[in-house]
Amino acid sequence: MKCYNCGCTLSEDDFCTACGADTKTYKKIVRLSNYYYNEGLSKARVRDLTGAAASLKMSLKCNKNNIQARNLLGLVYFETGEIVYALSEWIISKNIRPKKNIADDFISDIQNNQAKLSNFDTLIRKYNQALSYAQHDDLDLAVIQLKAVVAKNPNYMRAMELLALIYVNNEEWNKVKKVTERGLKIDAGNTTLQTYQKEAQIRIFERENASGRKTRKQKEEAISYTSGNETIIQPLNDSERTGGQTIVNIIIGLMIGAALMWFLVLPARIQMARNDINNELREVSEQLTAKTADMDDLNKRIEALQEENKGFEDRIAEYTGEDGVMEDYNNLLSAAESYAKDPDDALSASSYLEKIQNAEGSDVSSEFKSLYDYLNSNVSAKAAEQYLSNGVDKYNDGDYEGAIDDLKEAFTLNPQSDQSLYYLAQSYVKSDDQDKAIELFNQLITSFPDSEYKDKAERYVSQGEEDNEDATLRSTDDTPAAQDTSAAEQAALQAALEAAARAQSEAAAAGTNVEAPPVPAGQ
């Protein structure tokens, strides 16, 4: 102990041997502080934390610089869940003695574990919330909050006390007993919990007393006597057992055993077997589902491939079918060949040209188009003339059906030929198809107003006057005269033929590049 005046170590005397200051009262106060500290320490050792806190507070009231008392008080607060008070005591302790102070370690432990500190803070907030609920009669919500707090920090005495109080209010005495027992294990000197526990014990005793009177009455009726050190109680209504009764008991026991087997063991076995079967069924079902899914996928792939195959077949048909590009090329080449062999045989070349379906389509090449146009321009006029000539000859010979066919062709190839139209109408007149004849005459009157045949047509339409004269061909027809193929045209035709042949081979190659099934040679 140091002198408060000069700081020297004091002796057993009541004054300072160095400065002579009176230290009697000073020593008494310091000793009193130490006494309370020792008392607090003793109480803390037996977990009387409330008592320890009271003693330590007294110690600090005597001497607020008693570092040990302050540190222990902080520790007691910490143990009862009062983190803030514990921290404040340790911080003050550290301010008083900055070095060689165990409070430094306590503070460091808490500050270095921020998660723990945050957890403490959360629990304090929850407790405050629960208190608010309790003050506003929301006891159910308060209980829920307090249960959560106590579950996370079982040392938080404040929360434990409030929870016990709410249970007291709800007259849930068993819960009060349970909570207070838990709390008193941590703080044996907690008077609040002790009060609640005592109340709970009284209530539980009263309840048990009320319900247990009948039982006790029966017990009192039992005959008991003392033999030496032992108290013997004779059972009520216990008659002496006979041999037959034993056999009956054994039989009853066996029956009970069989019943147990039947009602407990057997159903369990059956349930196990069912579970096994269900598991197997589930596995098989899962496998089946997986297989079905695989099959669906495969079917979809097959459908997709079939559609793709159909697309390819359609494309091949576009090239190799009757109306395909290949057929058009063949017809064009045949027409060109026929025209090259005999330029005057326009009918033959024209018949091939008529078979070409896609002369203007995008599938044909430019060479194809140029050759087609060339042949068409040269052959059509000549063919029209030949058809007209043939038709006129057949008309004059009385073969009106043949004349109609030829003249139809002639007019189709050269729609500007009024002569073809007139003799076609005449052929219908001679074939007794008056309606068709009048229709064609009207067409002639409308389409060719300057035609030399207009008057005859009008006379027939208005008066039914037939023209019975033989048909004659006009020497100067509107249709272009047949032209001789010059050497230059022959050369151009040759070049176009080669180009068409090349285009045909390219088209054939394109048709085979799509992995189509082989096309029969005859196609």
């Binding site: 140091k2 009231k61 803030v84 404040s88």
Partner: protein, 48 residues
């Protein structure tokens, strides 16, 4: 018999961690030695 309302009044809001500084500042109450020294009119000089 425990009176719930009376008992509840004994419970107070717990200080949160952020209130630690306030709790430290509230600890400036004088102790018995302070009273003694103020009566004697001297200053405490205990050496560490």
């Amino acid at each position: 018999m425990i009176n719930f309302d009376e008992e509840l009044k004994k419970f107070h809001r717990s200080l949160e961690v952020e209130d630690t500084q306030d709790a430290v500042n509230d600890h400036n109450e004088p102790d018995m030695l302070d009273l003694l020294f103020s009566m004697l009119g001297i200053k405490f000089k205990e050496k560490e």
